[in-house]
């Protein structure tokens, strides 16, 4: 639990027109944690995700990932460096089969484009992950035919192909059945045990309290509290933010 943090966000700011969505936001994600990022609607959680992963350019602020500063965040380059994310609405490649989805997310660079569509190595690793996530039965079906929950699982499983150090999960359990919530929770825990760090945005407070430590609370685009879940939950500022005080 010691050593430099895996991800450091310093004074990150993003304005949309006149609205400041993220306002001097600073926090750190320590290695091997499952860090929760919570806050009321519109507090800037997803924008923080988009800034950290390079999906949006920040107006100002610094990022340090894995001990090195990220000067021009680019989603693809960060992914290959070990920082990956899921989306609120699961995004998979519908025309590709489930196994091909795994291979597409393996993080190969342009030199690998001439290689075979599905290398034996990718297939083996993909199959192993699909087995772990209980998707082996759908291996050769187009991803478009999967259910919503299965797509969430596939998106999660696929980015593990790149052996990420840090995974950002954007509302991993939104819109899925209680059984699927439990499944996803189990997978996050298992992966965390084997060394992957998680940062997750989530509205299901029960899940956050069970899974995350520490928890970072965002309001108005800045961090208003940070600490163990029980501690954070009882702070007046957090209650105010949630209850609209």
């Amino acid at each position: 639990m010691s050593g430099p943090p895996l991800l450091e966000v310093r004074a990150l700011t993003k304005r949309f027109g006149g609205v400041t969505a993220v306002d001097g936001c600073s926090f750190a994600v320590r290695r091997s944690t499952i860090t929760g990022l919570i806050g009321p609607n519109g507090s800037g959680k997803t924008t923080v995700f988009n800034l950290v992963t390079g999906h949006l350019p920040a107006d100002s602020g610094q990022l340090v990932f894995d001990g090195r500063p990220v000067t021009r965040p680019d989603p693809g380059r960060l992914y290959r460096r070990g920082l990956s994310r899921t989306f609120q609405q699961p995004r998979v490649f519908g025309e590709l089969t489930v196994l091909e989805n795994m291979s597409a997310a393996a993080g190969h660079d342009w030199r690998a484009l001439a290689g075979r569509r599905l290398s034996a190595r990718d297939a083996a690793r993909g199959d192993a992950l699909l087995a772990e996530f209980g998707l082996s039965g759908h291996r050769d079906t187009p991803a478009a035919e999967l259910s919503y929950g299965q797509r969430k699982l596939l998106e999660f499983a696929a980015l593990l192909m790149s052996e990420p150090a840090l995974v950002l999960l954007d509302e991993p359990t939104a819109g899925v059945s209680p059984a699927m919530v439990a499944t996803i929770e189990r997978h996050v825990r298992a992966r965390n045990t084997s060394g992957t760090t998680f940062l997750l945005v989530e509205h299901d407070m029960g899940l956050v309290m069970r899974l995350c430590d520490p928890v970072i609370v965002l309001d108005g685009g800045t961090v208003i509290a940070e600490g163990p879940p029980d501690d954070v939950r009882s702070r007046p500022r957090v209650l105010d933010a949630y209850l609209g005080g």
Partner: protein, 327 residues
């Protein structure tokens, strides 16, 4: 029954392909009428062009309407190179085609790099605008292109009775090249990357797919074939003008054939070309004087878009899949 079907699945396409190739090789030797060989020549040209277009428009989902510009650049490069040279045995001009294809592709990459910052419909507009840029250049750079007067290259010294044959086989070779590229792309990681790009480009980028490299490679491959076809076409006609060498109708022809046969499939563009190109030749021949063929062409286009927007092959494949699922 199942087993026989399986064996057919395995060897059938290869055998059918070989038989088709044999028929195409024999065709100009078997028919005596030169005009039939000409129809064959143009059909093969369109099949090659459509297959090449499919690499960008089908696999990557970037519907270029500017490919006629690259065709024209290949045609002009070939014609200008040979204007003041003698064709000798007549086969020399075929050997300048590969370097021309590569050179035009080298020009195309920066163009694609700019144009591919936009998506689908805007990309289509940008590329068709590029086509008009090139056409304007062909009209205006008179010192190089002869402007509206056009440019002439030596007429091939082949005997009139079999004049079309070398051009026919050159187009056949280009079709095979285009098919080999399509096959190679489909079975390589490039094909996987392109399908991902077509489905959700931002997501592809976010999982580390080398989106830019994949798109540019597909574009460059596509342009190599397109420009070489332009070169063969220029040599066959031995005289070219801006408005025919760089013709929006050619771009739209490629699109129509790919849409008719099936976008993103290996054989769809070939099927589309083998249906549309002979019909086009026939209509131009039959109604050429009155330009009624434009009307017929427009009508065919609208029908394809309305009735079978996904193309013949994918529609057929779905039918078969559903039928098998029922059985």
């Amino acid at each position: 029954m199942r087993r026989r079907l399986g064996r057919y699945r395995r060897y059938g396409p290869g055998l059918a392909g070989l038989a088709g190739l044999a028929a195409l090789v024999v065709f100009p030797l078997a028919v005596s009428a030169p005009w039939l060989v000409t129809v064959g020549l143009f059909t093969l040209m369109y099949a090659a062009l459509a297959s090449a277009w499919n690499l960008v428009g089908g696999y990557a989902g970037y519907p270029s309407l500017g490919h006629a510009a690259f065709f024209g650049m290949g045609a002009y490069a070939e014609a200008i190179w040979w204007t003041h040279r003698t064709a000798g045995s007549g086969y020399g001009p075929f050997w300048t085609l590969p370097p021309i294809g590569l050179a035009v592709a080298a020009v195309a990459v920066p163009v694609a790099w700019i144009a591919m910052r936009t998506r689908t419909d805007v990309f289509a507009i940008v590329t068709i605008t590029f086509l008009f840029v090139v056409q304007t250049l062909a009209f205006n750079l008179r010192g190089l292109t002869g402007g509206a007067q056009g440019v002439a290259m030596p007429v091939a010294p082949f005997t009139p009775a079999t004049f079309e044959r070398p051009f026919y086989y050159a187009m056949l070779a280009l079709l095979l090249l285009a098919l080999a590229m399509s096959y190679g792309v489909l079975h390589s990681r490039l094909g996987l990357a392109l399908t991902a790009v077509r489905g959700d480009e931002d997501k592809a980028r976010s999982v580390g797919v080398p989106v830019g490299a994949a798109k540019l490679t597909a574009f460059a491959l596509s342009v190599v074939v397109t420009a070489m076809a332009g070169g063969v076409w220029a040599y066959y006609l031995s005289f070219i003008y801006p408005q025919f060498a760089i013709d929006p109708l050619l771009s739209i022809g490629m699109v129509l054939m790919v849409f008719l046969g099936g976008r993103g499939t290996l054989w769809g563009p070939v099927l589309g070309a083998f249906v549309v190109a002979p019909a086009q030749q026939y209509l131009a021949y039959r109604f050429g004087a009155s330009q009624l063929y434009l009307l017929a062409y427009a009508a065919l286009f609208v029908v394809v878009m309305l009735v079978m927007p996904r193309g013949a092959l994918p529609t057929l494949r779905d039918r078969i899949r559903r039928a098998e699922a029922r059985a």
